[in-house]
């Protein structure tokens, strides 16, 4: 199963739950800022997303949209 995610960076509050729970290490912290003053997470293109949606399940801000092939 393949998938991809779209992170709504303006909603991210840098809580780190998605980074921790992603089984594929596909999500990593970033150094950029969003308007709320947080460092939103971003995807690590070198790792694959399998569309499991665990990131979105945990994300309190509903900042992740998940797509599956």
């Amino acid at each position: 199963m393949k998938g991809y995610i779209f992170i709504k960076k303006e909603l991210c509050k840098e809580c780190g739950l998605c980074v921790h729970f992603c089984p594929k290490d596909h999500i990593i912290p970033s150094k950029e800022y969003n308007a709320q003053g947080y460092h939103p997470v971003c995807v690590d293109e070198t790792k694959e997303c399998n569309g499991c949606a665990i990131c979105a399940t945990m994300c309190p801000e509903i900042a992740v949209e998940v797509y599956r092939e």
Partner: protein
């Protein structure tokens, strides 16, 4: 062609949550909204927020809502449901709201078997007011009013809401879950759906207690907060189904006056 498998629920407004990073409220709000969407009941749902961090829940849930005074949500929900028995009425409460100032209202709504659903967010502390001891604060847990940790001699014991309410004959369905892991989140959503289905079928009082993270007042990262729930809170407040009479035919709802 990829299809979307996770998106923003319809029954939640687009507003950014004012809740802290990693707050369990945000997760549970989403789950409630997802369940409302899936059951197709947005138009007949009426919610009652607490006094607490979630006092502004009406900024998020796109359903009719009425603010209740601190602890009185179940009394309001009782009345609304009695007047509008075909609506889905839920009370959403925190530790102080349900188990301290509001203990009488929640207890008696359960005892009367009111056909409402109560979602109880247990984060073992008073969040909005800055981290004071809650009825659910655990022994030796530090809070702003128990700086040396909760001591049973002067502060008593943590209140085990699910255990207590499951003892009431009027309660039909009582489950405790947690949102500290993906599995926990999924179980919590199932429990919320079951509670709402219990209500729609007229089977009586349902309560879902959710062990929820409060990174700000616990002074832990969100990830460590999840560990705190799994390793510490779950020992004092074990997740599980405490009462489930939804399958029993003897527990049908009487025609409400």
């Amino acid at each position: 062609m990829a299809k979307i498998v996770f998106k923003h629920p319809e029954s939640l407004k687009e507003n950014i949550f004012h809740y802290c990073p990693g707050c369990g409220h945000s997760i549970v709000h989403r789950l409630v909204a997802e369940v409302i969407d899936e059951m197709g009941i947005r138009g007949i749902t009426i919610g009652v927020p607490p006094a607490g961090c979630a006092v502004l829940a009406y900024n998020y849930f796109d359903v009719d809502m009425i603010e209740a005074l601190h602890g009185r949500g179940p009394a309001m929900a009782t009345a609304i449901k009695r007047c509008l028995p075909d609506r889905l009425v839920f009370s959403y409460q925190g530790d102080g709201d349900l188990a301290a100032i509001g203990i009488a209202e929640s207890f008696h709504a359960a005892n009367r078997g009111e056909n409402i659903s109560v979602i109880f967010i247990n984060n073992a502390v008073y969040g909005m007011t800055g981290g004071q001891m809650a009825p659910t604060t655990m022994l030796n847990q530090r809070s702003t009013t128990t700086p040396a940790g909760r001591k049973q001699a002067v502060d008593g014991y943590p209140v085990k809401v699910s255990e207590i309410f499951s003892q009431l004959d009027g309660a039909t369905y009582v489950e405790r879950c947690s949102v500290s892991s993906p599995a926990g989140v999924n179980k919590t959503k199932k429990a919320i759906r079951k509670a709402f289905q219990c209500q729609m079928a007229g089977l009586g009082f349902s309560l879902v207690e959710v062990l929820s993270l409060c990174p700000t007042n616990w002074k832990l990262s969100s990830v460590d907060s999840c560990k705190y729930i799994d390793e510490v809170m779950s020992k004092v407040f074990p997740p599980g189904v405490y009462k489930d009479q939804t399958g029993q035919s003897g527990k049908t709802a009487e025609a409400r006056p």
